[in-house]
Symmetry: C2
Subunit: 464 residues, 2 copies
């Protein structure tokens, strides 16, 4: 009998903790239960993360790329991270698109004069000075637009398409102006990409991918207004709208990804990234998208530090810039760290609001998934054990495309698209205890992957 | 054996229908099942009422007392009622308050410059030209205001009181400006009286009941903004707001209650009133409050007419003016019909949104309640059998106070205070099938009470 076994089970377990080559035989959840419970307990013990997010959004408001408020938030975050005792706090420079909204409005002229609830789409060109006044054609599909044919020329096209999923509905926002311009329209409106509306129109990116097609202004109207215009058209009424937008695209502006670390005790050059994006749209305060994810990722690392949980590998919190209209932060990181990506064990991001977490969506190899499923069992106390293949997050996407395993925090999505990219994205939509669970889930996942003897295998995803 | 009984049950039942003195022995629900099912079936068969409401709100928008849009809606409703074939269609003149909002805005000046989501309260005075700029004190109760004492002088007071019930929370809207003025404040803000917010501030009436106290401007800010200012104060930050309001109270304006009838076949001078209010606040379209209730009451009578269900007594649909800021419609009706109120059998109103109906809230005698409970059994097919004593509706209140039995349609109230008095009160918040059930519930109740041989006893309510 091995001498360890003669000393009985408690001693065996104690010895195992000191013997990684033996410990590796144990499932990860058995080996890391204590550390995980400490992280979970610390996360749930107070509202530090929620209060920090409150301070951030109340002080700086929304944070569009190119804005002074984004750069001030970045400075503040680095200062706070240093005060937290995190290591290697620095900004990593990238150039970001700099679109500014300007004055904008839309008024219904016919059949009844009334202001519409509108918001310009990010990246849109301006209207001519004085605006555009034109008749409106409401369509619900490309087929319907095609069927209206030459009638669209000189008109404003309103795409009134009800929300199904974001992926399915967002294409009207992204590409509606292109389709309308191809049909000869002078401007494009969309029904806000939103699953519930209280007259809060939603912005978001649009694109002009085809340089041979005229660039026409694009804006969203509230769900309510889109439905009203559609009803008016169904009654045979002539609809006329006056649209004014002063949007401008300025030269790219300097910005930064915020980076801070707990340097690994044994393999400091191996890295687990844990992240959210600091930039937001220029309405509301971006508390949900993605102030909450940023502060939760940051808090996960702050708690490890506070608890003295220094893992073997480096845990690196990254607060991305420019997720919303360019993903230049994620692309810049990939380029600046290209030589080290094979030592990036995992890239975690939270960008669906810090609502009640279910677990994670994974991108990577089956072998890595099996390992992460062992770790996910540690999230049983907060009901966040889900670990399934799924869609990834935007900022870690460039890394994942090169083989780094990726995790996106999966949360209760019931109300995400009520608030997303609108004035209603504010702190009060989040709950301190739900946010604390998000912190706990990310902290446990990052810590165990950074500390475990095993490495998560890389696998370059198949091209879509 | 009575000769009728010798002829067997079917013949007996047929004879009973012709013999009110015998029919009265049968419960009302047995006697009126066929008529009720015809009304219910007709109401649920199409979306006529919903489409009529859509036409109304899309064409006229919101309808504040004194506005051209309210008077145009009144003209349109009477024209449509005549086209429906209703009888005695006319307007009954009353003078109504005429408050106009004017230009208004609020901006946070300190600790951070950002526009607030505000809406002036109905009846408020204006700020001086150029607005008021003052520091803000946030309080959550009268006690807290009292505790701040002389500090309130020259300040703007924000009452940040979370919504509990409307009755409990609305007093801040009604009387906040008075309390703030007594403390020496220069303006009063309230957290919107709203159970859920997406940056849609809610208006509503406020009052200056004490002529010895200075009249200071009153406005609501969104729930989100009120919470933000409260957090800023909790952090010890200085809060400063610039408030501009151009509100004016003009001389009272002429308006009308819309009245139309099905004249009773036997007792035309006995009346059942069925009603909603046509006026609304000057934001959104007042589809829920109370366009829906108005059109549902109207539709109930249109369906009786269409089905040839002419009751013994007169059914009178009344679309009230000026519920929102004066109740002059309901008061005027009481005064103009004072001599006939003893022949008003019942006054029904729908003013809680035409959401899924539960039944009715009743005001009156126990004997009348027992009779109405028999009738309510007829609403079993639409699950609207509730008939309990409860709070009454505003416009029928003056009649009820003089002894007329009153019914308020009781509906699913989950979302009423999300939309109420805000830009989000729009057609899409209502559902055609739920609205049809409201029509059915009101139609059955009005028809049976107007037709039954029995009279509902009057009872003057005890003073509160």
């Amino acid at each position: 009998m091995h001498r360890l076994l003669r000393r009985g089970a408690p001693a065996l377990l104690a010895a195992l903790a000191l013997a990684p080559h033996l410990a590796a035989q144990q499932p990860l959840d058995a080996r890391y239960r204590d550390a995980a419970n400490r992280l979970i307990g610390a996360a749930l013990a107070d509202s530090f993360a929620y209060n920090r997010l409150a301070t951030m959004v109340d002080r700086f408001g929304n944070r569009l790329s190119g804005s002074a408020s984004l750069e001030a938030t970045i400075d503040w975050a680095m200062e706070q991270m240093r005060a937290d005792g995190l290591q290697n706090v620095h900004g990593e420079a990238v150039m970001v698109p700099h679109w500014v909204r300007g004055e904008e409005s839309a008024e219904l002229v016919l059949p009844r004069a009334v202001p519409l609830h509108m918001i310009g789409l990010g990246g849109s060109v301006a209207t001519p000075p004085g605006g555009i006044t034109a008749d409106v054609i409401v369509v619900g599909s490309e087929q319907e637009l095609a069927a209206r044919g030459a009638e669209a020329r000189g008109k404003i096209i309103l795409f009134d398409v009800p929300f199904t999923t974001y992926g399915e509905t967002v294409r009207w926002r992204t590409a509606g102006a292109l389709a309308a311009a191809k049909a000869g329209a002078v401007a494009a409106l969309i029904r806000s990409v939103s699953s519930f509306s209280m007259q809060n129109p939603h912005t978001g990116s649009m694109r002009y991918p085809d340089s041979t097609v005229a660039r026409i202004p694009g804006a969203a109207v509230s769900v309510e207004d889109a439905m009203m215009l559609h009803r008016m058209q169904a009654r045979g009424e002539r609809i006329r709208v006056h649209l004014t937008m002063g949007a401008r695209t300025l030269p790219d502006a300097p910005s930064r990804n915020v980076v801070a670390e707990i340097v690994g005790s044994e393999r400091p050059d191996e890295v687990v990234v844990i992240s959210g994006h600091l930039d937001s749209w220029d309405v509301g305060t971006g508390a949900m998208d993605d102030g909450g994810g940023s502060v939760a990722a940051w808090e996960a690392v702050r708690l490890m530090h506070r608890l003295g949980l220094r893992p073997r590998r480096t845990v690196r919190v990254v607060l991305w810039t420019n997720e919303e209209n360019g993903t230049r932060g994620g692309q810049g990181y990939r380029d600046q760290h290209r030589g080290q990506l094979d030592r990036h064990m995992l890239a975690i991001e939270s960008d669906n609001g810090v609502f009640r977490p279910n677990g994670f969506r994974f991108q990577g190899s089956d072998a890595a998934l099996a390992t992460l499923r062992q770790i996910a069992r540690l999230l049983e106390p907060i009901g966040a054990t889900k670990m399934d293949p799924g869609e990834g997050e935007a900022d870690v996407g460039p890394m994942i495309a090169l083989g780094v395993p990726g995790l996106g925090l999966d949360v209760d999505g019931t109300r995400y698209f009520w608030y997303h990219h609108s004035s209603a994205d504010t702190l009060d939509k989040l709950d301190p205890q739900e946010m604390a669970r998000c912190v706990a889930a990310m902290a446990v996942m990052a810590y165990v992957v950074a500390d475990m003897p095993e490495s998560l295998p890389h696998q370059v995803p198949a091209a879509r």
